[in-house]
Structure formats: structure tokens, C-alpha cells
């Protein structure tokens, strides 16, 4: 579990290249550093629900990202706030 303020990195993983998938982690965030804002709850993993497979419960977070670093546009202080599941997040030391 990540507390609010925890520094994280989105896994730089591309399941799209390994076969049919349903993932809710947008391509532009893979490998990007972010900051956990809050825990939103825990939900059955949609990556499994999408294939009618048994789905483990996963924590879902609001994670903030520095927008200029993601899209090379916007001003310092602009942020993206994205909902991401815990298994897509790695701790940053």
C-alpha cells in the first residue's frame, strides 16, 4: 500500500505486445514518475474482469504527474491526475 505523498514510477511494461489485453494504464504514463495523492478504494482487477476471469482485488490510487514532463507542453505546476491500480506502480527511493 502507498501512503499519500509516496513517490512512485509507473511500470514500463507493454502487455499489448504479448497478446489480447484490457488495461487502464495509458501508454503515455509507462515509466513516468508520479506522486500518490490518495487511495480511492480497492476493486476487482478489470484486466481479469475483461476476460471473465477470477479477479483479485487491487488498490486504486489517484496519482499526480508533472504535465510538462509527460506531454512536453503546459507550465511548471501543471499536473495530470490519473487513476492507476497498485500493480502498475513501483516505489521510488
Amino acid at each position: 500500500m502507498f501512503p499519500p505523498g509516496a513517490l512512485v514510477r509507473v511500470r514500463n511494461d507493454w502487455p499489448e505486445t504479448r497478446g489480447p489485453v484490457h488495461i487502464r494504464t495509458p501508454h503515455y504514463l509507462r515509466g513516468m514518475p508520479g506522486r500518490v495523492v490518495r487511495l480511492l478504494g480497492a476493486y476487482p482487477n478489470p484486466e481479469d474482469l475483461a476476460f471473465a476471469r477470477p479477479a483479485a482485488t487491487r488498490a486504486l490510487y489517484h496519482v499526480a504527474f508533472d504535465q510538462p514532463a509527460v506531454w512536453q507542453e503546459g507550465q511548471g505546476g501543471d499536473e495530470l491526475l490519473v487513476e492507476l491500480y497498485e500493480h502498475w506502480l513501483e516505489p521510488v527511493q
Binding site: 507493454w14 499489448e16 505486445t17 489480447p20 484490457h22 495509458p26 501508454h27 503515455y28 509507462r30 478489470p46 474482469l49 475483461a50 476476460f51 471473465a52 509527460v70 506531454w71 512536453q72
Partner: protein
Amino acid sequence: MDKDVPRAPHDLGGVSKFLCEPVDVEPHALTDFDKEVDALRGILGVKQVMSVDELRRGIEAIPEAEYHRLSYYRRWIRSITDNLLVKGVITEAELRAALERV
């Protein structure tokens, strides 16, 4: 500058091609077709035949050119049809016969 990554066709956030197109934010009236598709998805969910997550996976599997050509609810009916065929709820013969009656 777009990253050269193996993104799926529906994963459009930040893709420059779409940043250059104005976003249509006007509300659209729903057609009878739209409402019927929405109701059908609702019933399939209540009856536990098909989840919203399965609907989304089916939409995301639509080939890119077709994905951009289809309206919102046409993507839904395409996904619902694919899901029901794969699950064996309907057969291709039944689908073809039903389409011929329309």
C-alpha cells in the same frame, strides 16, 4: 512529440494527431438505436452474461480504421455481438438470419 510505442488504437491520450482536432463537446441527442444498445448492455449485465469490462475489451479489439469510423454505440453493438458469439450465446447463423430480417 508522440512516443514511438506499441499503444493500442483506443489509447488516444496525448496523441498529437488528435490534439490537432477540435473536441466536439456539444451534447448529442440519443437515437432509438443508441437507447436500444444501451438497454441491451444493461440487461446483459443484470443477467451476468457480459460485464462492462468485457464490453470495453471488445471495443478495444476493433481494428483501428473501423474503430474511428464507428459511432459510440456502434462500437458497443460490435463488441456485444463479438462477445455473444465467442460465449456461444448466439450463433453466426442466428446473427445472419436476424440481420436479414432487418
